[in-house]
Structures are given as structure tokens and as C-alpha cells.
């Protein structure tokens, strides 16, 4: 498999009044052709900042690249001039946002919004772009696309808007599609349809997907690999099987434990007690230390290095150090067969 994207030690900060918010602190991951990588983690862990950094959509200032590189086809995107980035956005990498109610321009027809990218990157005429737009709307499952193409976003339902958004993102056959919580704002039945659509289109076009979500159910359905983020860092990464069946990081255990289970009767959902770290003044050691039931003194002092569990799984946790006590994975984090396919 070929790596098409390599994020290496990426750090992104925001200069705010009085403090530097270190939103992403040394994140590394690869994306292979045609695969789906899920990035999971709770709110504020830096998922969107990571995703938008790849597209260079972060406002700079206040944002800034502190460190690291983003290699796409061997070229570092963090150093590309803005003009050259324009030829990557939309053409090589497409993006879908969380809320389809706000991610489409309310005063422009859907057709024009799809056509823009085609005209820019494919040198199409307005007419060609219009016809291609109809084709794309049909592809993403919008009925009577010839009519719908001339409508405005407010004439679409939420699910249809997200379909239109997918059509925009995939218009120029990008090699990578970044989907930042594409279904969080939609209701459950529509969620499933949108995910099905994305999976189907991926099979057709061979686009690699970076899928950002909090929902482990979606991960199990969609992804081949998972990166678990916490406090601006990736604390564990591995294949879906590894993360679900052999998780090594206490935060991953917590995430799995807070997933609703179908086969076990539970009084209430498990939650991870405590709140995430203040990224304006992040802890010196492991960011999870204040909430980790297994925290040791080493955890407060230094961020643990990654331990290679397998060729594909890496975990940053002091529990994996030789000197650490043996800890058993808690009952609640053990995943049965059923909920993964839920």
C-alpha cells in the first residue's frame, strides 16, 4: 500500500488573549491509498484542528504551525504557498463539515456551488459544470437532480444538504476526503444513509477517507484503522480490530466503556469522570493523567513514548513500561461481537 498522506509531529497553536492554546501537540499518522482512517476522541481533543490543518483552513493568525510537517505526495503542505494550496484543495483533498445546515452558502444555488470547483480545477465551461453537477447529484442519491440543481440550500433537507456537500467535496475526484463528523448533526436513519453513501462512493472512486467522529459505532462500520486523540495528542492507534479487541490505553478503555452495549443490561452509561486538560496550559506528562484510574507518578512527569504493540498498533502509556504494574482491561471495555455491527 502507498502512503498518500504523512502527518509528522504536527503541532498547531492559537494565539489568544493572554495565552497560547496548544490545540494539537505532536500528532503523527499516515493515510494509505483507498483506506479509511478514523480519528476519534472527545470534544476539544484537536480533531478538527488536525483536519483543517491538512487543508490549511486554519485562520493564521491566530493559528500557527509550531512544528511538524504534512506530506502529501512527498510535498510538505505546511510550507506550500497559498496559491499552490488552492490547487490541492478541492482537487486533491475534499472536505465535508459537521453541520450541513451551515456549510452551504445560503444565497447560491446548489448547482453553482458544485460547479465552482469543476470550473476551477477541471477547466469546465459553466454549461459542462452544470451537466456534471446534475450527474453528481444523481450519484449522491438526490431525486430529480435536474430540478434540484437550481435550488437553494434552504429548499433541501438536512440529509440532502449533506449529500450535496458530498457531491461538492467529491466533484473533482480528490484522492483524500476529510469528513469532520459528517453525520453528527443528522438523525439516526439519515446518518446510516449518508455513511452508506460514503462507503459506496469510496468503493467506486477509491478515495481515501479521514473520518472524524465521536461515535465508535461509526468507526466499526466505516474504518480500517483508528487514531484515538486526547488532549491534542494521539494516545493510541491501530487497526479497528486492535482498538476494539486489544486496546491498551486507559483512555481507549474509557471510550469503549462509554459505548452503549446491546448485549449487556446496564443501569446507566459509563462515563469517564473528570474533564479534559486546559490546552492553554497542558500538563507536562500524559494529558489523561488527571482522569486516569491507573495514574502513576511517572505519568505526571513525562509524556510516555509510543510502545509498538504490533506492526500496526502503537500506544503511548506508562502502563506498557516494564516497570509498571500489570493492569487488567476493565470489564466495561471488553467488546462483544454485537455492538460493533450495530
Amino acid at each position: 500500500m502507498n502512503k498518500i498522506l504523512e502527518v509528522k509531529d504536527l503541532s498547531v497553536s492559537f494565539d489568544t488573549y493572554g495565552a497560547e492554546v496548544k490545540a494539537v501537540r505532536g500528532v503523527s499518522f499516515d493515510l494509505e491509498e483507498k483506506e479509511t482512517l478514523a480519528i476519534v476522541g472527545e470534544s476539544g481533543s484537536g480533531k478538527s484542528v488536525t483536519a483543517q490543518s491538512i487543508m490549511r483552513l486554519i485562520q493564521m493568525p491566530p493559528g500557527k504551525f509550531v512544528n511538524g510537517s504534512i506530506l502529501f505526495n512527498g510535498e510538505d503542505l505546511t510550507e506550500k504557498p497559498e496559491k499552490q494550496m488552492e490547487n490541492i484543495r478541492g482537487k486533491e483533498i475534499g472536505m465535508i463539515f459537521q453541520d450541513p445546515m451551515t456549510s452551504l452558502n445560503p444565497t447560491m444555488t446548489i448547482g453553482k456551488q458544485i460547479a465552482e470547483g469543476l470550473i476551477k480545477h477541471r477547466n469546465m465551461s459553466k454549461k459542462e459544470a452544470h451537466l456534471k453537477g446534475i450527474e453528481l447529484l444523481k450519484l449522491v442519491g438526490i431525486p430529480t437532480p435536474e430540478v434540484r440543481i437550481n435550488q437553494y440550500p434552504h429548499e433541501y433537507s438536512g440529509g440532502m444538504r449533506q449529500r450535496a456537500m458530498i457531491a461538492i467535496a467529491l466533484a473533482c475526484n480528490p484522492k483524500i476526503l476529510i469528513a469532520d463528523e459528517p453525520t453528527t448533526a443528522l438523525d439516526v436513519t439519515i446518518q446510516a444513509q449518508i455513511l452508506d453513501l460514503m462507503r459506496g462512493l469510496q468503493e467506486e472512486t477509491g478515495t481515501a477517507i479521514i473520518l472524524i467522529t465521536h461515535d465508535l459505532g461509526i468507526v466499526a462500520n466505516m474504518a480500517s484503522r483508528v487514531a484515538v486523540m486526547y488532549g491534542g495528542k494521539i494516545v493510541e492507534t491501530g487497526t479497528v480490530d486492535e482498538i476494539f479487541y486489544h486496546p491498551k490505553h486507559p483512555y481507549t478503555w474509557g471510550l469503549l466503556g462509554s459505548m452503549p452495549k446491546l448485549d449487556i443490561e446496564e443501569e446507566e452509561l459509563q462515563v469517564i469522570p473528570g474533564s479534559p486538560p486546559d490546552l492553554a496550559d497542558p500538563p507536562k506528562g500524559c494529558p489523561f493523567v488527571t482522569r486516569c484510574p491507573y495514574a502513576m507518578s511517572a505519568c505526571t512527569k513525562q509524556m510516555p513514548a509510543y510502545t509498538n504493540i504490533s506492526d500496526t498498533q502503537k500506544t503511548a502509556c506508562w502502563l506498557l513500561d516494564d516497570r509498571a504494574p500489570e493492569v487488567q482491561i476493565p470489564e466495561s471495555a471488553i467488546v462483544g461481537g454485537s455492538e460493533i455491527n450495530a
Binding site: 488552492e86 484543495r89 478541492g90 463539515f97 456549510s103 444565497t107 447560491m108 465552482e116 470547483g117 434552504h154
Partner: protein
């Protein structure tokens, strides 16, 4: 669409009715009358004049006469200027006021929008601060002081522009700028905050994520949405320009409608007061209607009402 416009026209007529009624009774509640100030008149002559102009009729008869004259746009002769019809006075003053008003509106909109956009694009930098200082000055300095300051600087000190009257284009510049200053400042601030809002929306991110250039993103996607609040401000803008013109025309000695209106009020020239009031009201109400129609063209979400009417 047609039903919608008809409905709106109905409202305009209703509003006019109230405006006329209120003006009529206020006018008569104010002490004095059209012939009261001319001391030379003997009571006998004054009584005769009142009789001739129908001022001795019972108030409800006068009121009905006014209503009829207002809705036929035939206000009759001026009480003060013998032999002049109200419509002549309006026709004479209108061109001046129209030029002044349109020029001021153009300045307020063009420069206001420009300053607002610059401020938003240079957010928290030099350009932003400069534009907002201009805006705060414009809002806090009343137009009559602005007028005097402009006259002092550009006419007296620099001798660049004529100080008063309204003859050539050069004459129009100072009064138009003075008249525009307050709404201009308001528009600049409105535009700035609306542009900042729009630039931080998701759909701007979407536009960028398509690979569109900075300029296309800012203007095609940003400006068009950000300008919507400014369009809805055009109604109040017309009102502000109208009322501002009463003062500015006086200061610059412009023989426009605003001036005519002020003079007619001090003279208790009932027919002229009524004529200009109705004229101004119609102008304002119609421009508000036009603004709403234009808004519907720019913002597709608004068309829903019109479409509902059609179907």
C-alpha cells in the same frame, strides 16, 4: 408576487391615512394659523381670509377636505405664496433634494460598505482601527456640526469647494457628504460586523475547501451574504437622509423640498405642510417596499412568502 405587492400597497395607503390624520390634527393643535403672524391684517380681513381658505369650516369638514385633496394629490394653492400651487412648490424643490439625497445615499452606501469590508478584512489591524475611528466620528458628530466643520475646512480654509448654494456639481459635494456622514458611519459598522460574522461561517470554509482563491471567497461568498443587513438598512437610510435634508438644506441654502418643508411649518402654511408631508411619506413607504423587493432578489430564502402567494 402580484398579490404580495398589492397587499403591500394596501398597507402603504393605510399608513398614509394615519400619517395624514396625525399631521392634520397636530397642525391644528399648534398655536397660530397661516395668517396669524402678519400683524398688518385687521381682524376683519383675517376673518375674510380664513373664510376664503375654508379655515372657518368645522374641523371635521376641513379634515375630510384634506383627505380628499391628499388622495387626489391636489393640495391646492399655498396659503403664504399667493398664486403658487403646492404641486409647483414640490416640483420646484424636488430636483435639488433628489440630487442631494441620491448623492448622499450613494456616498453613504459606497463608502460605508467599503470601509466596513476593509475593517473586516484587516480585522484588529491598522485598517480596521482607521475605519472604525472614522465611523465613530461619523456617528457621534451631528450632521449640522459636520456641515459647519466641512464648510470651514474645505470652503473657507482651503477654498476648494463653494460654501453654499446649489448650482454646479462642486456645490453638491459638501452638503452631500455632511448629509451622508451619519448613515455612512452606521453602514460601515453594520458592514464590518456582518462581514466578520460571515467570514467565520462554515460555508466560507467550504468555499475555501473547494480551492477558490481568497478574492473569490471574500467577494462571491462573503460580500453577497454580508451585504444583506445593509440592504435592509436602506429603508431607515432613506428616512435618515430625508430628515437630515431638512437641516442640511437650511445650512447650505439649498432651495430643496426639505427647506420648503421647514419654512412651511414655521409659516403654518397648511397646504404646503400637508403636501410635503404626504410626498415625503409616499417616498419613504415606496422605497421601503422597493428595498423589500430587492432583498427578495438577493436572498433566496425570502422568496418563500412571494412564492406562497403565487401558488
Amino acid at each position: 408576487m402580484v398579490t404580495y405587492i398589492l397587499k403591500r400597497l394596501g398597507y402603504i395607503i393605510l399608513s398614509l391615512f394615519f400619517i395624514i390624520t396625525i399631521t392634520f390634527f397636530l397642525m391644528h393643535a399648534a398655536p397660530g394659523g397661516p395668517f396669524a403672524s402678519e400683524r398688518a391684517l385687521t381682524p376683519a380681513i383675517e376673518a375674510q381670509m380664513n373664510e376664503a381658505y375654508g379655515l372657518n369650516d368645522p374641523i371635521h369638514v376641513q379634515y375630510l377636505d384634506y383627505l380628499v385633496s391628499a388622495f387626489t394629490f391636489d393640495f391646492g394653492p399655498s396659503f403664504k405664496y399667493v398664486g403658487q400651487e403646492v404641486s409647483d412648490i414640490i416640483r420646484r424643490g424636488l430636483p435639488y433634494s433628489l440630487v442631494l439625497g441620491l448623492e448622499a445615499m450613494f456616498i453613504a452606501l459606497a463608502i460605508g460598505v467599503l470601509l466596513g469590508v476593509i475593517a473586516a478584512l484587516k480585522h484588529n489591524r491598522f485598517g480596521d482601527y482607521t475605519a472604525m475611528i472614522i465611523a465613530v466620528l461619523g456617528i457621534s458628530v451631528p450632521s449640522f456640526i459636520m456641515a459647519a466643520v466641512l464648510q470651514y475646512i474645505f470652503a473657507i480654509q482651503m477654498q476648494l469647494l463653494p460654501i453654499a448654494r446649489f448650482e454646479t456639481f462642486a456645490h453638491t459635494i459638501l452638503p452631500a457628504v455632511a448629509l451622508a456622514s451619519t448613515p455612512l458611519a452606521f453602514i460601515a459598522r453594520l458592514m464590518r460586523s456582518s462581514m466578520l460574522d460571515v467570514l467565520s461561517t462554515d460555508y466560507i470554509k467550504t468555499a475555501k475547501s473547494k480551492g477558490l482563491g481568497q478574492r473569490v471567497v471574500t467577494y462571491r461568498h462573503g460580500l453577497r451574504n454580508a451585504i444583506l443587513p445593509v440592504i435592509s438598512y436602506i429603508g431607515p437610510l432613506v428616512a435618515s437622509i430625508l430628515t437630515g435634508s431638512f437641516v442640511i438644506e437650511k445650512i447650505f441654502g439649498i432651495p430643496g423640498l426639505g427647506n420648503e418643508f421647514v419654512v412651511s411649518v414655521t409659516n403654518r402654511d397648511y397646504t404646503v405642510i400637508m403636501g410635503t408631508t404626504v410626498f415625503f411619506s409616499v417616498l419613504l413607504l415606496v422605497s421601503i417596499l422597493l428595498v423589500d423587493l430587492v432583498y427578495g432578489l438577493v436572498d433566496p430564502r425570502i422568496k418563500v412568502a412571494a412564492k406562497g402567494d403565487k401558488g
